[in-house]
């Protein structure tokens, strides 16, 4: 083999060797990235995959809700964390429509259907007013004015014995309906 050919051969070898080494290095780097990234990604996205409980929980005695009145009650969030304290509660507006029967109650989330601020019940005017952007709802939850795109969100309820039970639910959004 002549000297020039040997030189050329060595150069070719080194280029492919360097290419190989750089690919190995890149692959190892990506592997490290995956090892570090995948668990943390799963950890951070976990709230998406954990299904919240949706049990019927008591919010008060039926007798606590006089006919024709709308009262504020609080309900524990589904699967709250031990250290959540006060923030694990959510408020609901309960309207007693009839003495008995399937349309005895209407249970509303306090969240305005516009952007979620808590609506206020005005007993004199029989309307719900929202303090953020001025949404107004009638006593049955239908929109009376302002920006809300849909009626107040309602919750499933049941009467069991002398107690009113309400279904736990995540924060309602316009799409969930």
């Amino acid at each position: 083999m002549d000297p020039a050919g040997a030189r050329r051969g060595r150069t070719l070898n080194e280029i492919s060797r360097r290419r190989f080494l750089s690919r190995v290095t890149l692959a190892l780097t990506a592997f490290i990235g995956g090892i570090v990234g995948l668990p943390i990604l799963g950890y951070l996205l976990a709230p998406l995959f954990r299904a919240p409980t949706d049990e019927l929980v008591p919010v008060g005695a039926v007798a606590d809700f006089p006919l024709g009145e709308t009262k504020l009650v609080s309900i524990r969030d589904p699967s709250p964390l031990a250290w959540a304290g006060q923030t694990a509660d959510t408020a609901l507006w309960v309207r007693r429509r009839e003495a008995a029967g399937p349309s005895m109650f209407q249970v509303f989330n306090v969240n305005c259907t516009h952007l979620g601020c808590p609506v206020n019940w005005q007993a004199g005017a029989q309307i719900f007013l929202c303090p953020c952007h001025g949404g107004v709802f009638y006593s049955d939850g239908t929109v009376a004015g302002g920006p809300p795109p849909r009626p107040l969100f309602e919750r499933e309820w049941q009467v069991s014995g002398d107690r009113l039970l309400v279904r736990q639910q995540p924060l309602p959004t316009v799409k969930q309906g």
Partner: protein, 473 residues
């Protein structure tokens, strides 16, 4: 007295020892002395200092933020109390928290001012496109810091602001509900929410900001400070670099020929923040967070009030489009600026459309901020009562009607004699506009955003209410 002179030389000797042993001459000093265009010696140089002032305020934010983190407890049960302790009991706590608060406002203002200056000077053009892009990410990061910071106050406002943020995220197409659940880190605002916002505010975004500032400054030094624009001298990418090299050959060293202005304005900015913090102190917290207390009145800090107003004023039908589309459009536009207009005239006098693109949003946002401050669309929910000027000399049906005006929540949305909400029209002189029949019709059937009251007042109550309103001539 020669020993005094000898001692006087010590600091200089220490400095030169450090400089030499740490090889600062080739690194830090070389960077600081990078050449900048000679024109910066002239008064126009004052326009080039806003970035440095922003950096100085950022340092304040880091330092005061670390200080606050020493005491703040990011737990839903304790965060509020720990902030009250910082604001009222901790030594200098009010000033540290006040500096962090006014610093955040200063960051938003200065970043926007810096960006506006760069835009109007055409400094984002070739070859400095990447400076603009990293700057755009820094603007995003600054706004994200401002927003997450407000939530860490963890009072009623903050709590409901998170709900509002989640509801806005939910408007996004397809991934909306996932986004909303990620914002609150679960199904409701609760135990997991605060720690996520805390980690985002103190680790995640700051890490991104440090990296971005590094890139931004590297590019500023490598690409060089843009020369002041001259009308009729457009950027021509093929010849620009050669021309700029020529400009720098006649240039001046940044340190200290130009840096003194940066230092002066940065000092001014820092002193203003300190004075505001000392004079006004930390912003008062609202009521402690309680999802079962519906008497909340969430408002963002002043620089977000314009956006808050947008959400109240746009037609409901366009809302999802605006909530998702407007920020998206603004940021896409921001990132496209250097890619769409990399060359051509830099001087603002030759770019009328660019000047309008700055002026119009500023004027519009200022008007929206004023609207947000007044928020006339919000019903008054507390302190319902009519002043004596509105009830003076009333008796019988009209007096009963005046009572109904308050108890039936008319007052929440309508003013009489300067008392009441401003959501609906002022009714001080309503009887001079509407007849009795028209008033009755209006109250009973509502319309134009007003609820129909036919179902919630008796005919007699309606008649008394109208009798009262008929006295308002």
């Amino acid at each position: 007295m020669s020993w005094l002179r000898a001692i006087g030389k010590v600091p200089g000797q220490i400095a030169s020892w450090i400089g030499e042993r740490f090889e600062l001459e080739d690194s830090v000093m070389a960077v600081l002395r990078h050449p900048v265009p000679r024109e910066l010696e002239r008064p126009i140089g004052w326009w080039y200092v806003i970035g440095s002032a922003t950096l100085a305020i950022f340092v304040i934010q880091v330092v005061t933020g670390v200080g606050l983190a020493m005491t703040y407890v990011p737990a839903p049960n304790s965060a509020y109390d720990s902030l009250q302790f910082i604001s009222h009991d901790a030594t200098l706590g009010s000033i540290v928290r006040g500096m962090h608060y006014f610093g955040s406002g200063a960051m938003v203002v200065l970043v926007l001012a810096h960006m506006t200056q760069v835009y109007l000077f055409g400094a984002f053009k070739f070859p400095r496109e990447a400076n603009w892009l990293t700057g755009s990410f820094l603007l995003l990061a600054t706004l994200a810091m401002a927003f997450t910071g407000q939530l860490l106050r963890w009072d009623q406002d903050a709590f409901w602001s998170i709900v509002v943020a989640a509801e806005q995220a939910a408007r996004a197409p397809v991934i909306g509900d996932w986004l909303a659940r990620l914002v609150v880190a679960g199904s409701n605002v609760g135990g997991a929410t605060l720690t996520r916002f805390y980690a985002t505010h103190v680790f995640l975004i700051p890490a991104a900001i440090f990296g971005l500032i590094g890139m931004h400054l590297y590019l500023v030094v490598k690409r060089g400070i843009s020369e002041p624009p001259v009308a009729g001298e457009p950027v021509e990418p093929r010849t620009y670099r050669a021309r700029y090299t020529e400009i720098l050959r006649r240039g001046i060293p940044f340190w200290p020929d130009a840096a003194w202005r940066d230092a002066l304005v940065a000092t001014l900015a820092v002193v203003v923040v300190l004075i505001l913090a000392a004079a006004i102190g930390a912003p008062a917290l609202g009521k402690p967070p309680d999802p079962t207390n519906v008497l909340a009145d969430p408002r963002p800090d002043w620089y977000f009030l314009g956006y808050f107003a947008v959400l109240a004023l746009i037609p409901p039908a366009t809302e999802s489009l605006v909530i998702v589309g407007l920020p998206l459009f603004a940021f896409v536009f921001l990132f496209l600026v250097p890619l769409l207009w990399p060359d051509g005239e830099r001087h603002w006098s030759r770019r009328p459309a660019a000047v309008a693109a700055v002026a119009l949003p500023f004027v519009a946002y200022a008007a929206l901020t004023v609207a947000g401050l007044q928020s006339p669309w919000v019903p008054q929910l507390e302190g319902a009562a009519l002043p004596s000027a509105a009830t003076h000399g009333l008796s019988g049906y009209a007096a009963h009607g005046a009572d109904l005006f308050v108890t039936k929540s008319c007052w929440a949305c309508h003013q009489i004699e300067g008392s009441g909400g401003r959501r609906g029209p002022d009714l001080t002189h309503v009887a001079s506009r509407l007849s009795r029949d028209q008033l009755t019709q209006r109250v009973a059937t509502g319309g134009g955003g007003m609820p129909a009251y036919a179902g919630s007042v008796t005919p007699i109550e309606l008649d008394d209410l109208v009798t009262y309103l008929a006295t308002r001539k």
